[in-house]
Amino acid sequence: MIELEEVWRTYRLGGEPIHALAGISERIEAGEHVAIMGPSGSGKSTLLHVLGCLDRPTAGSYRLDGQDVTQLEDDALAELRGHRIGFVFQAYHLVARLSAEANVELPMVFLGVPRGERRRRAAAALEAVGLLDRRRHRPAELSGGQRQRVAIARATVMRPRLLLADEPTGNLDSAAGAQVLDLLDQLHAEGITLVVVTHDPEVARRAGRVLVLRDGRVAARLAGSELGGLERALGRGKPGP
């Protein structure tokens, strides 16, 4: 369960401070599927990074499963990221020199999972994303969709309870994108808490709840099915047929 209270993230680049997050208070229950939408620069990625403990809020509190993580040391945050949180990036962030299998094994190497166990779990995770036969391929030898599925295998191989995805289909064509979204849906169906940042209303439609950000604030909270309201909230509502 995620509880945000008056969370700010402020960048200071010499002149005016930029508030990427300007006082966000939000609650996301365990097992929810939430989409985050909003115009470019509205703070979606920043919010996801804070949720993933990849970045620290400038002010406010963030409780993950009841624990205030804003006060934690670097190593304690590493522990959280390793065991409880999975992160999927728009740009995949696979290690180019390593095979798909080695990329999936990477978190387990640093979290001290024994070698044999690593092999087994990496194979299972690749199997689950349908890429077991590509396990020896390097990222450069895989398509964008395949790369993102490897990244999902890597994000889930430690069985985290929270999976965060920042525009996971942003670089993919619609067929590959649909495959990735099906995978995420399946993981959610298995009980994972899923937060997805997206521009695409089709992606958001799959979520139980949609948060619409604007200028670092939550501008609207909608149900996934209320896409009409969503279009209006984004300020680009199409005239109906």
Binding site: H49, G52, L54, D55, R56, D74, D75, A78, E79, R81, G82, H83, F87, F89, A91, Y92, H93, V95, A96, R97, L98, A102, L106, P107, V109, F110, L111, G112, R115, R154, M158
Partner: protein, 402 residues
């Protein structure tokens, strides 16, 4: 994370940029090889010179007629010194308890001939103890026999090269050679020993001292060699020798030389040479260290995103540092071992072409070269990574388009 995982991860990273790793490996190898080889060369030169002196023994006292120490009067002015005689040698033998050998020596140049072959050679008149004092060896036959010193005996022991020239392809033992007007029987040939302090021992002929004095019509010895049991007895023996000569000649008209002073000076000069070479080599090693730093610096700035990723995946700071440290140390270690192998090979080659220089890298140089390269690798590998691991994962990830 096990050490094996750490090494495996570091290896994939090094293999990931092969050319850069290879270049920096080469840099370290050259640095280490330079340190080891240059210090080994300096050491070999020192060992060579010291060996030259030690061949004569550091326990050696040399008594020379005439006073060369400046104690008044101009050299060559005043009355000539007394002869240094076989009687003096005998008195020194009896009077110096610490003496192991007392060897009179007379020297001259004569024509040595056998059946039309002839050449000028240095003739050394001495006793059987010369063999031990000059560390010579007999190849075939025997050496000069122990004789009552004044006795003359027409026998000669030839240097190896002289023997080969006079008796090409023949056994010289028992054959007669002519030395000046003297007919001498060959009783032995020395083993080759080469040049020792300017005297080519392979080209000399040795005769009994009594014979030598008559042959050259000398009344004075060239010098008397006194070998002592131990180096520490040198000063006491020197005093004793002076006293004995003073008593016999009525004045101290001899010079007593020992080799320590010369040896010490040479040794310290060559020690300084080695130190200078080591200094030069250390510079090349630090250049190699900077090479590693460059590799790691480029590597880290190129891989800051990777550091961010590793942290995002749950790696702790210390683990990330350890991974980069392992990478740098592996590189330095591999370069160091390669450098040692290269140095060993080059040392062998030098020893092959210049047998007098026995290249044996000093253990301290090997240890220092390896230690320094690994140390520099660790330091220069760690420094750039230290900055990167402090970043929050997003900040690091944002540094490069991953």
């Amino acid at each position: 994370m096990s050490a094996l995982d750490l090494i495996a991860f570091a290896t994939t990273a090094l293999a990931g940029h092969r050319l850069r790793s290879a270049l920096s490996l080469l840099g370290v190898a050259i640095g280490v090889a330079a340190v080891v080889l240059l210090t080994a060369l300096g050491e070999a030169a020192r060992a060579y010179v010291v060996g030259q002196f030690e061949a004569l023994g550091t326990n050696l006292l040399i008594v020379i007629p005439g006073r060369t120490e400046t104690s008044g009067g101009l050299p060559g002015v005043g009355k000539p010194p007394h002869d240094l005689t076989l009687g003096d040698a005998e008195a020194l033998r009896r009077g110096i308890a610490q003496a192991r050998h007392v060897v009179p020596v007379v020297i001259g140049t004569e024509r040595v001939a056998h059946q039309g072959r002839q050449r000028d050679a240095i003739i050394v008149g001495t006793t059987h103890e010369f063999l031990a004092v000059r560390r010579l060896g007999v190849g075939i036959g025997g050496f000069l026999p122990p004789l009552e010193q004044r006795r003359s005996l027409p026998v000669v022991v030839l240097g190896s090269k002289l023997a080969a020239e006079l008796f090409p392809g023949q056994n010289p033992l028992g054959r007669i050679v002519r030395i000046g007007g003297w007919r001498m029987r060959t009783i032995g040939v020395l083993v080759p020993r080469g040049v020792q302090l300017g005297l080519n021992l392979d080209e000399i002929a040795l005769v009994p001292v009594g014979t030598g004095m008559r042959m050259f019509d000398r009344t004075s010895l060239f010098r008397i060699l006194i070998e002592l049991g131990a180096h520490t007895e040198l000063e006491a023996a020197r005093e004793r020798a002076r006293a004995i000569i003073r008593e016999r000649h009525g004045e101290e008209d001899v010079t007593c030389l020992s080799q320590d002073a010369v040896l010490g000076a040479f040794s310290s000069i060559l020690g300084a040479l080695t130190a200078a070479l080591a200094g030069i080599a250390l510079v090349s090693l630090s250049v190699a260290g900077i090479g590693i730093m460059n590799v790691m610096l480029v590597s880290v700035s190129e891989r800051t995103a990777e550091i961010g990723l590793l942290k995002a995946l749950g790696a702790r700071r210390r683990q990330v540092l350890a991974a980069f440290l392992a990478e740098a140390v592996l590189l330095a270690l591999a370069g160091g071992v390669l450098g040692l192998l290269a140095a060993a090979g080059a040392g062998q080659a030098v020893s092959w072409y210049v047998p007098a220089l026995q290249i044996r890298p000093p253990a301290w140089a090997v240890a220092a070269a390896l230690g320094l390269s690994v140390g520099a690798g660790a330091l220069f590998g760690l420094l750039p990574a230290l900055r990167a691991v402090r970043l929050d994962p997003v900040a690091a990830l944002a540094r490069a388009g991953g």
